[in-house]
Amino acid sequence: MPRQVLEDTLTADSIAADSALAASGDATAFERLYRTHVARVHTLVRRMLDADEADDVTQDVFIRAWQKLSTFRGESAFGTWLHRLAVNVVLARRKSVGIERGRFINEEEPLRGVTSKPVTPELSMDFEEALASLPEGARQVFVLHDVEGYRHEEIARMLGVVPGTSKSQLHHARMALRRHLDR
């Protein structure tokens, strides 16, 4: 068996074992799951919301994961389940603060500060900064589609819009970000 395949298998086995142990109330196993997945979850949250909310929402994701572990049936990878849970928590947060819909459906909203071509390399934003500067709707569609790999139909369901809006927001985001490709 190739080494990488075996290591991947062992890692997957270890995560599966830890998810089963955590579901039974083993906090140590759950901490191992946290250590394995926190970077991915935190990065997703940071990109989808404002950076200053990322820590709080990431904590919320893991606390909810702990509470909901009994619903994890092992039919998908634990990481996939956790990731989807993180997306749901982010979207719930978005609704709870009541900012999403007005911003999201306004396709004419100017892309704040990210559309102009940088004058010098010193003044240019890097790609992550430019992504963070996108309007919320465009940013979330871009993250879900181009970074996380969701389809427009899924994104539309999650965000409560039609797929055409998701496509339009994605295009706006890409058009803005093309000016901030790393040089």
């Binding site: 068996m1 080494r3 075996l6 290591e7 298998t9 062992l10 890692t11 997957a12 086995d13 270890s14 599966a16 074992a17 830890d18 998810s19 089963a20 142990l21 579901a23 039974s24 109330g25 906090a27 759950f30 901490e31 946290y34 250590r35 926190v38 970077a39 991915r40 935190h42 990065t43 990322a54 820590d55 990431t58 904590q59 893991f62 606390i63 702990w66 509470q67 572990l69 009994s70 049936r73 092992g74 039919e75 790609f127 992550e128 871009f142 181009d146 970074v147 427009h152 496509k167 994605l170 295009h171 890409r174 058009m175 970000l177 093309r178 490709l181 790393d182």
Partner: protein
């Protein structure tokens, strides 16, 4: 730049145009350098998005999470876990199912113990149960095989990287816990077929894991 086509470039990249639209856009691209250049930039954006790195939080969030989850109670979860259906791969059985053995074995044993104390033994059952002597024989053979494989692993371990060794040790620790628990339970009820089956499966998985790791180490020598 032709806005009519520029606004369709992302759909073109994502393969969402029908054949007629695609042909029309490609005809436009052949004559419009600006759209062609924009298309190239958009493709770079898509590639860049796929190469973004994850970064952990600046501070450790576990302390707060741990504080919160300490308030949670496990018993209800444990009850549901017994009914849960896991769809684990064969490979995952080496660790994941062992964890379930840990969880379900003791509970099932207690349940069987309890049932035995209240239910009459069916006629003929006692003759179908493994005897203590049989248990000693098969576990003895397997113990010897495991001892040999573990000796080999001790010698081969240095050929593996640290991360692999750590994962292997973690999995072995889980399996050893399951074996130890099953042995303790069997001391109290040597003829329990359920526990014998679990012990056999657990030891078999340990042998399989040790063999696989030794094979991997040998392949790297």
């Amino acid at each position: 730049m032709n806005d009519q086509w520029t606004n369709r470039l992302s759909e073109y990249i994502d393969g969402e145009l029908d054949s007629t639209e695609r042909a029309s856009l490609e005809a436009h691209l052949a004559t419009c350098g600006q759209c062609f250049a924009t298309l190239g930039e958009l493709r770079q954006v898509v590639l860049r998005a796929k190469s973004l790195d994850d970064a952990p939080p600046a501070t450790d969030l576990w302390i707060e999470i741990a504080r919160e989850i300490r308030r949670e109670h496990a018993p209800a979860r444990r009850d549901r876990l017994v009914r849960r259906r896991f769809s684990l791969t064969v490979g995952q059985l080496m660790a994941a199912s062992i964890a379930l053995v840990l969880l379900s074995g003791g509970g099932a044993w207690l349940a069987l113990q309890s049932r035995q104390s209240t239910e009459p033994t069916p006629v003929g059952e006692s003759t179908q149960r493994p005897r203590v002597g049989q248990l000693v024989t098969w576990t003895g053979h397997t113990d010897a095989a495991i001892a040999d494989l573990q000796t080999a692993l001790t010698q081969n371990e240095r050929r593996l990287d640290t991360a692999t060794v750590r994962i292997v040790r973690m999995n072995l620790a889980i399996i050893d816990r399951a074996i130890a628990d099953a042995r303790i339970a069997l001391q109290k009820d040597p003829g329990n077929a359920y526990l014998n089956l679990h012990l056999a499966n657990t030891m078999r998985r340990k042998v399989e894991l040790l063999r696989r790791v030794n094979d991997m180490a040998a392949a790297r020598s």
